[in-house]
Point group: none
């Protein structure tokens, strides 16, 4: 477990005071890497005031224009979410989630995403995640303050760190590194293009197909070798489509060619 | 366990904003009984603002002049404390403490005391307690915001309350049944045949390809709808291969035809 490999990513935060509260909650629990995706107001004196003695976390915060930039190099991405999304995603409480994050953090870059104060993360943002984290609440009032949510998650990580005993996880002794978000995105683009090529996906009526496939492959957490295999299959499939449509050969596919390194 | 028998007692709170944050944290986790011992400023609009939709908790808050009044009828009193008091006291982390409070709350009145923002509870106040609760922190910065500390304790109570109701796994609330072994095996056969058809898999030198793909898809636990999608893609892919090889159309593929029911 390595807290330095776990970043907290706040997406489109409205109130700078919350950013300060988050910084303090993080430092209290031993985390230091804060990413701010297009915050409405930052830096700000409200943020500094609420951060109290965690000004160093604020100073070191990385501000990005897009979520993609903030998580491009991450192999494990967790999104905080309320229950009841239309398409269910693997959903865990903060405790189970912290276990997964903690073991991944030994060798990988981990991100936990927190959405806007008023409406959380979008479905699109949630679909970038390997896992969704839900903080249990009373049915009467389920909307936690942003900094409180960060506090709960960081607290669970701290409890694990102090316990000093981590469960064995899938990440240990795996035979290939897990795929980065960047490479996953390239795979999804390639997959989508191939499905259009084979006429399984109608771009005019895509329905939930890509969403379901993204859920499937983000759930499994592909390793780089598996990614190579899948992209190799896509490339071969595209070749057959071109062969069957010789007249279209020049522009049959928008996806880059890809030669699998490993089968 | 009865959350209505557990009260949160704030002693000499300085900042009304914190009182509001506490009220919200309590209501989020299903607690409602707030006691304020000689608060510096209450009621206050900062408190109401931070309480957001927990104004009812603030309205019902009991203000007392002394700590004794606030806990007179309690059978079990817990005091939050930093480590390293001069006189050692039974000290537990929030998780163990929550278990003790939860079981006591079935039949007894339970209080959790939170001290002043700047210096916590006095030794005298701590000596009124049955148990001391310590929230683990980084050695670099051990002073939690008051409302954050309440959030952590209430969260642990909530986790206990929900235990057994939370999804232990992804299976709960999933939108499609998980695939049977039978159907998985048919999928693997179909996948293997398709990979042979597209000449990605050489039956004479299969190497570890199918093993890796089986590991991938068994790891993810496909649901039946996902299985339908994947088999639909395979079927389309095979059609393109046949189209490109019209001379072989009769026996191009050994796999059964499959029409996806759902995309």
């Amino acid at each position: 477990m390595n807290l330095d490999n776990i970043r907290i990513v706040l997406v489109n935060t409205s109130h700078p005071g919350n950013i300060g509260g988050v910084a303090r909650a993080m430092k209290n629990m031993g985390l230091s890497r804060l990413y701010l995706v297009a915050p409405r107001q930052f830096p700000d004196e409200q943020a500094s005031w609420r951060a109290a003695s965690a000004g160093d976390v604020l100073d070191a915060a990385v501000v990005t224009a897009t979520l993609d930039e903030a998580i491009a190099d991450c192999q494990f991405v967790v999104g905080t979410s309320a229950r009841g999304r239309r398409i269910p995603w693997p959903l865990q409480d903060p405790r189970s989630c912290a276990r997964r994050m903690a073991s991944a953090s030994a060798t990988e870059q981990v991100a936990v995403l927190f959405g806007r104060e008023d409406r959380g993360l979008t479905n699109e943002e949630l679909q970038l995640c390997n896992l969704h984290l839900n903080i249990p609440t009373s049915a009467d009032y389920s909307s936690l303050n942003l900094a409180m949510a960060v506090q709960v998650v960081c607290y669970e990580l701290r409890m694990l760190l102090d316990a000093g005993q981590l469960p064995a996880s899938e990440d240990d002794e795996w035979d290939a590194p897990f795929a980065t978000r960047d490479n996953m995105e390239r795979f999804y683009q390639h997959l989508e293009q191939t499905l259009v090529d084979v006429e399984f996906l109608d771009p005019a009526a895509p329905r939930q197909l890509m969403t379901r496939l993204r859920r499937l492959y983000s759930r499994v957490r592909l390793d780089e070798m598996e990614l190579n295999i899948l992209r190799g299959i896509l490339t071969e499939t595209q070749k057959w489509v071109r062969k069957a449509q010789p007249q279209d050969v020049s522009g049959a596919s928008g996806a880059e060619d890809y030669t699998p390194k490993t089968k």
